[in-house]
Symmetry: C2
């Protein structure tokens, strides 16, 4: 029973043998087996236990169990108590996400401060398979189907090739005791459902499901490697520049692909975007069009796509001193030019009566109480009402600029001009304001 | 109810509107709905029904139902009766595989002979999802997870975006009647299990499972496109030559990749190979080493990999007239050279006493009754026994060459020399025989 486990650590993960290891231990059977295994092999281990305070006395019991275990084995144990519910509600995330974030952050901090080389977690093959099925059910891409990596920076999943059954057999054969988590947290419930109702049926289709799954994720991992090799070549051609928080891509490099959507997905998936057809439309859109994710904006600008981070609550205030100026904004260059007549109207350019502009002008975001006189409409409208009618998201609102003359709005940039500054028969000089 | 179905055909599959269509119809609800839909849209349709004769009277009832339906709609119906069980046992395949092969072959033939532009089948989103789960359970790669394509040459799956529920609602709303297949064939059983026991649980995880699945397979399809784009570039460098049934690849192009196994897999997966670690070892193996699939062999030859088709029962008989000859075999070049002394022994080269060789020699495969005197052993051994002891597969046996002098085996090529021809103290001239 012990042999395959021992051999895996000794030969496949031999880099663990002369390293300082921190074992993430919940007190459940998986992490107790991992601890026992490393201890038997004489590895240099310490334990780290998170008390998430989600199950009252039971949580405290888990902590005591771990401390006692460390004491019995005469090894060091670190414990930390978290206000998981508070952290979750503060950061507007699920309890489960909060626990993960707190846990990984703390492990990483411990490892850095105390000089641990690796952090071992007790994920096994069934965990991996269940994660595959959960990700698949929720909708995913290649990344979501390739499983947890066995080694990922400092984190090592030392039991990954073994099944839950293997782990429990190990625990029984070695007369180990462990803590059983009686909670019915939703993931636990979900994983139990998969474990007891879904996976047994898949095993009817193929009794060696776990091995086949291993070879499937190996194959998918291989495909991922090829995708990455190709993207490396693609980026050499497509990336025009990288500055802090801003990348520029060449639109034509996307357009010349057989499947540009695939390249958009792979290039921008890590920035929170999900609407790939909108991204595809951006390739042929006019300058100034953009799409937003919760963290980034992607703007079409001439023959480029500009990716930039949205700084939450980022305050934009740009002063324009005279009408010969070109001004850079996060969405392109705002330029002013004197023209003889009104040309084609477009959402990216307006024509105004120069005499009515009081320099310096100001570019800023909207604020509560802003009112303007929408071009082509009678009377005034609250900007907030206008946004609501146009069904703008919070992010769209934050990303909309206003061009103001004194306290008056001249242009809701790229959306609507203001009536008051329009060119009339009395206008002597026309100024074209354009976002390029 | 009808609208989404109609719109899908009219707009997304608009190429069907002016084409001659052959509908593959079983008589079940899916194909009856497809027929009704196309009829309602006034498309130019004929029906094709396969009677696989697997369910006696019920099979005949299905056929009558389809003929009657065609009659009611005043359209043409083709039916064909197959001896499916006979075909399956003749070709050593499952009933299910046999039915698929017979069906697709016949549809294709009909379409070609009678000038149909497209063949429509009634696969829907649930079929696709079930196939994903079956492939996943059995173990697969990216290909097995990207679903049935909506359009694949002449075959069009016109209901692919719709769920089984959508299809049944359509049938009920239009008061259609259809045939229910009462069979309990194993795939049917399997699909029922997935449908009733697995998928409902996955839908608990995500109620819009089918939509998420669509976006997952879109994402995976995109990844596949990138993999293919990259392989195109890779093949430009790696393929040295293509002749009939033989391709040569440059080993160093594989070896210079970060993940050579990934490239081996993508390059050779369509030729029946499955042991990718063996393929990986081939990159560094000596000339003459090979791996076999049921249809192909892949041989290391100097700095190349040679892929060639195995002709079943292919008979190899090559005559060697004198010891100055180089002879091409399917596994490399066999060369003879006179040497002064025995150098390093290796499995790809033997040293023999020239005086004992009686030219012309013969290269052939083994036959029943072959006996040789294995080098280093006392006495003789049947070649069949030797193969058994070495645990050779049927294919390995067929791919092993014997070098013979008159009726005596000189060398089980690349495996074992014969004692009788060994170099002794009486030897005057030494010949080195080598497979390069």
């Amino acid at each position: 029973m012990l042999e395959p486990f021992k051999n895996h650590i000794l030969y496949n993960l031999s880099f663990l043998n002369n390293a300082r290891l921190l074992i993430a231990i919940s007190g459940g059977v998986d992490s107790v087996v991992l601890t026992h295994l490393c201890y038997q092999l004489g590895l240099d281990i310490s334990l780290a236990h998170c008390n998430f305070n989600l199950r009252g006395k039971e949580s405290d019991g888990d902590e005591e169990f771990v401390v006692q275990l460390a004491d019995n084995l005469d090894i060091e144990a670190f414990t930390e108590s978290f206000n998981t519910e508070g952290y979750a509600s503060e950061n507007k995330m699920s309890i489960q996400m909060a626990a993960r974030e707190l846990r990984y952050y703390w492990f990483d901090e411990l490892a850095q401060q105390l000089g641990f080389d690796y952090i071992l977690t007790a994920h096994h093959a069934d965990d991996n398979l269940e994660t595959f099925l959960i990700n698949f059910s929720r909708g995913t891409g290649l990344d979501g189907l390739t499983g947890i990596p066995e080694v990922n920076n400092k984190f090592v999943r030392a039991l990954l090739p073994f099944s839950r059954e293997n782990v429990i057999d190990y625990a029984k054969a070695n007369n180990l005791i462990w803590r059983v988590d009686s909670s019915n947290a939703s993931t636990k419930y979900l994983r139990n459902k998969l474990r007891h109702e879904v996976i047994p049926i898949l095993k009817e289709i193929n009794p060696s499901l776990l091995q086949s799954y291993q070879s499937t994720i190996n194959n998918l991992g291989d495909a991922t490697d090829i995708v990455e090799d190709h993207l490396e070549l693609f980026f050499e051609d497509a990336v025009e520049s990288i500055e802090d928080n801003k990348m520029t891509f060449n639109v034509s490099e996307f357009k010349k692909q057989n499947n540009p959507r695939a390249y958009l997905f792979e290039t921008f998936k890590d920035y929170g975007f999900t609407e790939w057809n909108d991204a595809l439309n951006l390739l042929d859109a006019q300058s100034g069009k953009y799409i937003l994710s919760s963290t980034h904006r992607l703007i079409k600008h001439q023959d480029s796509l500009l990716l930039s981070e949205i700084v939450p609550g980022e305050l934009i205030e740009i002063t324009i001193t005279d009408s010969n100026q070109e001004v850079e904004t996060p969405f392109g260059i705002l330029s002013f030019s004197e023209v003889d007549e009104i040309q084609n109207n477009s959402i990216t350019a307006i024509y105004v009566d120069k005499a009515l502009l009081k320099f310096p002008l100001l570019i800023r975001q909207w604020k509560v109480g802003d009112v303007f006189f929408p071009f082509g409409m009678k009377g005034k409208k609250k900007v907030s009402k206008y946004f609501k009618d146009e069904k703008l998201s919070l992010l769209d609102k934050e990303s909309t600029l206003l061009l103001c003359s004194e306290d008056n709005i001249v242009w809701v940039v790229n959306r609507r001009a203001d009536n008051r500054f329009r060119v009339t028969e009395e206008t002597e000089e026309i100024i074209k304001v354009e976002l390029k």
